[in-house]
């Protein structure tokens, strides 16, 4: 019986080792270094009508070297204040981060009145790459 399971078990173990090896050592490639949010047309009108439309989450996580440029585009008809700046209709704001830290901005768009951006260091060790890949996979799954 044990011999029957030995080969499949070895195959699974080999797959896990290969998978971990890839996740830990293969460089992470991203399509864009931008982490983008769009403010759709009509957002201000919806808010004024009492709709608690959410555009930016209270917390945003960025990773140096991967997606450390926050981009916000205002497609609405009125100026919008998000995080550290005011954006006119049709304007976009592109904010690069170069240091890993937690950044807190005043933000009238949130009930808490603040927006926190956690910038994490670039995952350069095998363990950090595995952790980053697993978290990305998990968050994409939730989306």
């Amino acid at each position: 019986m044990r011999r029957v399971f030995r080969i499949p078990l070895l195959a699974v173990a080999a797959l896990v080792v290969v998978g971990l090896g890839w996740a830990g050592f293969a460089p992470i490639e991203v399509a864009t270094h931008e982490h983008s949010f769009d403010i759709p047309k009509g957002t201000w009108a919806r808010r004024r009508a009492g709709d608690l439309v959410e555009i930016l989450p209270d917390h945003i996580r960025l990773t140096l070297g991967l997606d450390a440029v926050l981009v916000i585009r205002n497609h609405d008809d009125v100026p919008q204040t998000f995080g550290p700046t005011i954006m006119m209709p049709g304007q976009s704001f592109s904010l690069p981060f170069e240091r890993a830290a937690s950044y807190q901005f005043t933000c009238t768009a949130h009930a808490s009145g603040s927006l926190t951006i956690d910038v994490e260091p670039e995952p350069v060790t095998p363990w950090a790459r595995i952790r980053w890949r697993v978290r990305e996979w998990w968050e994409n799954r939730k989306r």
């Binding site: 700046t85 049709g90 304007q91 904010l95």
Partner: protein, 195 residues
């Protein structure tokens, strides 16, 4: 045949020239695109003259908001901006104007702001005005401020702490969040001063 050779040589030269071209310099600050005119300022300057951005056309202007009783954010911001001007050198710094607008018009008059800013750099110009004038300036620049009362009746003000970079033509080009070192300002100011 000769035409083909010439064409190929030209194409090769163009490709080499393109490969050798330095990449466009990017700012350390957050960039606004397309560039639009900076919101208006209609206040009184600490030098007694009207404070409008038009006064500084041709210079790069750093606009920030704060108050003289601020114990944390404003002194750090002002010390950073003063350090950036020093690092730029006297000649380049002549084309850089810092404008610091109060969010506390009840306590900050022109004399108080002048003394406060002068401690960091005598070229800094403060913006003061009535509560209505300051409210209008804050609204147009997207500045929030919240008064926090102390048990003894005094108060502090939590306020937006970004620094706005206005180019020589009066366009609002970029926004530097609080906390960047003087070197980042020097880097961006050099780019903006080149036009």
């Amino acid at each position: 045949m000769i035409r083909r050779l010439i064409l190929l040589t030209l194409l090769g030269a163009a490709a080499l020239a393109d490969a050798g071209a330095p990449p466009a310099e990017t700012l350390k600050a957050g960039v606004l695109t397309p560039v639009m005119a900076a919101p208006a300022l209609r206040l009184t300057a600490t030098d007694g003259q009207p404070l409008t951005l038009g006064r500084f056309r041709g210079k790069v202007v750093l606009v920030a908001f704060g108050f003289s009783n601020c114990g944390e954010v404003c002194p750090i911001t002002l010390a950073t901006l003063a350090g950036a001007r020093r690092k730029l050198g006297a000649e380049a710094a002549r084309d850089v104007q810092v404008v610091y607008v109060t969010v506390d018009p009840e306590r900050d008059d022109a004399a108080r702001m002048r003394k406060f800013l002068g401690a960091f750099d005598p070229t800094f110009i403060g913006g003061v005005g009535t509560r209505a004038e300051i409210d209008a300036a804050q609204a147009s620049w997207g500045i929030t401020s919240v008064r926090k009362m102390n048990p003894d009746g005094s108060y502090l003000i939590g306020h937006s702490s970004s620094i706005y970079l206005v180019d020589r033509a009066g366009g609002l080009r970029a926004v530097m969040p609080y906390g960047h070192p003087a070197d980042d300002f020097v880097h961006d100011l050099k780019i903006l001063l080149r036009g």
